[in-house]
């Protein structure tokens, strides 16, 4: 019994996510579950997943955040617009140059935070203000008719970051189903092989039942999504980006020494330093990484809106922080996972979309989101307290 309770607690947010989703399906007469809206859920929230991944890495190091990323998305939009539309440089060259700009900003920010010891929220507050202004000014100067918006991005660029793979209209997308089946097979194999491997080496492993239940649930989730997407025209291109990034960072955080250091710095910076880890380098990497992921976010945002606007990226930093916090990432650093963050981001996305479909007033949407955020943190702290008094 205690084992099940433990399991329930560990996956509390996931269970909440499923319940909230079912709630909204009911409230919207199933519209929430339509192929169209499942697809929308992904494309609307892709930016949160990418940005929150970067934010997660920063937060792990001790609750550090980056306030500048939203404004930097706007600024990068301006840079991209100028490169691709105004200067008519090639898509590949532009993407590369934008990445270079991002890396330069990341290095400066990382240097200020890690080596000059400027508190991250102050260093990034400066960027938050400056990049919004700089981006807006560039967009106004370079946009046709000084409208502050650059559009008509090259088709190649849009294809890479938005749209669908092997798109079909109104018919079932076979490619999508095939990919879904392939992903399911891989997940099952990983689960089963992982257990077999552990048993072979004589380590403790989950019971066969647990592996089966886990596999069945994962496969069901993947296939439901694949089926829905197949009816919505195919796999959104951004999903490939998101899944790729999530997988890479899952691996980094859980399996590499580099990832381990992010956690131990958040847990005890001084102990980590005295254990021979270059803690400043890790802090530097956290913010460099954040800037790179912000650039990728800006590609996604530009392609989704097919334009670079001065309002682009507004509140993105808050969405990313909220996703992490709701996903159980500690606001003091040292704990949290990519999977948790994904659940958190999805939960917020589901609430957003659900309320939109229900026609809830925009102001009320904000109130609800605020309450959810607070609730998640209170839950976390109470759970932690209970654990520590055990």
């Amino acid at each position: 019994m205690a084992k099940y309770l433990e399991l329930l607690k560990k996956n509390a947010m996931l269970i909440v996510l499923v319940l909230v989703y079912i709630f909204f399906i009911g409230m919207t007469n199933g519209s929430m579950f339509s192929p169209m809206n499942v697809s929308n859920l992904i494309t609307q929230n892709a930016y949160v997943f990418v940005l929150a991944t970067g934010m997660l890495m920063c937060m792990l190091t001790g609750g550090n955040i980056d306030l500048s990323c939203g404004s930097f998305v706007c600024f990068m939009g301006a840079v991209g617009g100028i490169l691709m539309v105004v200067k008519e440089m090639g898509t590949g060259v532009s993407i590369f140059l934008m990445l270079v700009v991002g890396i330069i900003y990341g290095c400066i920010l990382g240097f200020l935070v890690a080596y000059v010891n400027i508190p991250p929220w102050i260093a990034t507050l400066a960027g938050f203000l400056a990049f919004r202004g700089w981006g807006t000014q560039l967009l106004t100067d370079y946009s046709p008719g000084k409208t502050g918006s650059i559009s008509n991005f090259p088709a190649a660029f849009l294809k890479i970051f938005s749209g669908k793979l092997f798109e079909t209209q109104g018919t079932l997308n076979i490619v999508c189903l095939v990919v879904g089946i392939a992903a399911s097979v891989i997940v099952v194999l990983v689960n089963v092989m992982g257990r077999a491997n552990k048993l072979k080496k004589g380590y403790e492993a989950d019971s066969m039942t647990a592996v089966i239940v886990k596999s069945v649930l994962s496969v069901a989730a993947i296939m439901i999504i694949a089926y829905k997407l197949a009816w919505a025209g195919g796999i959104p291109t951004v999903l490939v980006w998101v899944v790729g990034i999530v997988l890479v960072y899952s691996f980094i955080t859980s399996k590499t020494t580099l990832g381990r250091y992010f956690y131990t710095i958040g847990g005890n910076k001084e102990a980590t330093r005295l254990s021979g880890v270059d803690t400043r380098m890790i802090m530097f990497l956290a913010y460099l990484n954040m800037a790179v992921l912000t650039v990728i976010t800006s590609y996604i945002a530009m392609a989704r809106f097919q334009a670079a606007n001065s309002t682009a990226g507004t509140n993105y930093e808050m969405d990313a922080i909220a996703a992490c916090v709701v996903g159980g990432v500690s606001a003091y650093g040292g704990s949290g996972s990519v999977f948790g963050m994904v659940v958190g981001a999805t939960l917020i996305g589901v609430i957003n979309l659900g309320m939109q479909l229900m026609g809830v007033d925009a102001d009320w949407q904000k109130i609800v989101k605020g309450a959810v955020l607070l609730g998640a943190v209170v839950f976390d702290i109470l759970a932690a307290k209970k654990n520590s008094t055990k």
Binding site: K198, K201, Y203, K255, T256, T257, L258, R260, Y263, T264, G267, N268, E270, A271, T272, R273, L274, S275, G276, V277, D278, G334, S335, S388
Partner: protein, 512 residues
């Protein structure tokens, strides 16, 4: 004979696992200076914390009778209202604020809604004059020296209308002249009828000011000496302080051959990282041989940790000079990583602060300083990591249900073992153990000593820093004695006694 102002009766205070005070009795007469002496950890500060209400009524047993009534202090302000004011060893002043602001911090002059600054500063000036300071109370704390800051603390206590003033190591950060001035000020206050309790390691100062001396040892009051009715000298006090018998609390080491020198430190000088002119370690020379346990004894603040950390990849201090030789070759270790690679390990005294990641499991803590040992090209082999953690858990007899247990949930002794495991896994030749048995119970201490013996038996060298005399004498082959940043003595363990080590420190203190 005056009235008894304060009587503490049968005070017993237990912390989880440790009895810090055991049936302590203390009587302080009105108008006297009463000194409390004892080794680190004997319970002096705990006793004063009980008195001032830092440990509230109900968390200890026994009675505090002050001015004829039984007191139940729940917080510091309760005791301050009665006129009991404690001045802690660590100065509690805000450097960026003025003397006046500090003096009335939490005790602001004026109405509830607004501070009356004129009253604040004129009052402050009045009290400053009483302690003999000519500074204006508008001067910022950071602009005056530590000696004057200590006087500000006293003025602050006077502003609270102190009747019983408790000074915890008031001269520990002062130089000779400032110390003497402070002691004279205490004598002056005594003439005016103030009662004081002074806690001090500096026995010459105790002899100079005290009317009565109470010795605290292992959480009990051993004796109270009246300085007027009998001749008291420092030797007499030392005898009281260390007069416990050494039984076989230390496992014997036999047949460990001491080899050639594998670490030599020459002329090692380290400056404070913030106060650039302060020498924390002063021209230290040290040699450590293979298979040897070298003890470094010194009181807190002697510069032992600073010495160790500055050797360990310059992880402490500024402007470090001197040479470090390992296995006969001169090396420069610029970071903890380089020190680890040079087969050096530093096991910190502050396992919670900078030793362990409490929120992470034993497995993660064990491998932290040697991730390369459990990974391939940066990818962690979690299975191997688990194996390593289990191996050390069994080797060091760490008591835990599983190595996936968070370190924060372990007892002090077991935490210390995890910390040792972490450093043993880096496969060092030289281990510097800083207070390896601080805050852990007797049984765990014995196990740690056994681990130390195993280490040297395996040909490694151990430098053990400790402020427990019996431990240093019982475990070391050779002992360095450190005081105020300098090595003031070196002796073989069989020549060392508690008395001559203490005498060595006192002599060096007086020599200045």
């Amino acid at each position: 004979m005056g009235n008894i102002l304060l009587e503490m009766k049968n005070i017993t205070k237990t912390f989880p696992g440790v009895k810090a005070l055991d049936n302590v009795n203390l009587q302080v007469e009105e108008g006297e200076i009463h000194a409390l002496v004892g080794e680190n950890g004997a319970g002096k500060s705990t006793l004063m914390n009980v008195l001032s209400g830092i440990y509230p009524y109900g968390t200890y047993e026994g009675d505090i009778i002050y001015n004829g009534e039984v007191c139940q202090f729940h917080k510091i302000t309760d005791s301050e209202k009665k006129g009991i004011v404690i001045i802690h060893q660590e100065l509690a002043l805000v450097p960026q604020m003025s003397i006046g602001e500090n003096m009335f911090l939490g005790n602001e002059r004026g109405k509830k809604s607004a501070i009356n600054w004129d009253e604040t500063y004129s009052e402050a000036d009045k009290y400053l004059k009483m302690v003999g300071l000519s500074e204006s109370s508008r001067v910022l704390i950071k602009d005056i020296g530590t000696g004057k800051q200590q006087l500000v603390e006293i003025a602050k206590a006077l502003a609270k209308h102190a009747k019983l003033l408790i000074l915890d190591e008031p001269t520990s950060s002062l130089n000779e002249t400032d110390s003497r001035a402070l002691l004279d000020l205490m004598l002056e206050f005594k003439k005016q009828g103030m009662t004081m309790i002074i806690i001090s390691h500096k026995l010459n100062e105790v002899v100079y000011v005290a009317d009565k001396i109470t010795v605290v040892r292992d959480g009990s009051t051993v004796e109270t000496m009246d300085c007027h009715s009998m001749e008291i000298d420092e030797d007499r006090i030392i005898k009281g302080m260390v007069g416990r018998e050494i039984t076989d609390r230390f496992p014997k080491r036999s047949g460990v051959a001491i080899g050639e020198a594998n670490m030599e430190v020459k002329n090692w000088t380290v400056f404070h990282p913030i106060y650039a002119e302060r020498k924390v370690v002063d021209s230290v020379n040290m040699t450590v041989h293979k298979g040897e346990v070298v003890g470094i004894y010194g009181l807190m603040g002697a510069g032992r940790t600073e010495l160790a950390m500055s050797i360990f990849g310059r992880s402490y201090g500024a402007d470090i000079s001197g040479t470090l030789m390992i296995n006969g070759k001169e090396v420069t270790l610029k970071s903890p990583r380089e020190a680890i690679n040079a087969k050096l390990a530093y096991v910190t005294e502050d396992r919670k602060g900078n030793g362990l990641v409490l929120s992470n499991p034993i497995r993660v803590n064990t491998s932290l300083a040697n991730m390369a040992g459990v990974s391939n090209n940066g990818v962690i082999d979690v299975d191997k990591e688990y194996q390593v953690a289990v191996e050390y858990k069994e080797k060091l007899k760490t008591k835990t249900p599983s190595v996936e247990q968070n370190v924060g949930n372990l007892s002090g002794g077991n935490q210390q073992k995890v910390l040792l495991a972490k450093w043993m896994f880096t496969d060092p030749d030289i281990l510097i153990l800083d207070e390896p048995t601080r805050g852990i119970d007797v049984g765990a201490k014995y196990e740690i000593y056994c681990i130390i013996n195993d280490l040297v038996a395996a040909g490694k060298s151990v430098v053990m820093i400790s402020s427990e005399l019996p431990e240093v004498i019982g475990m070391s082959d050779r002992i360095y004695i450190m005081n105020e940043g300098k090595f003031v003595g070196e002796m073989k363990a069989d020549e060392a006694t508690q008395e001559n080590i203490m005498a060595c420190i006192l002599q060096s203190g007086r020599g200045e």
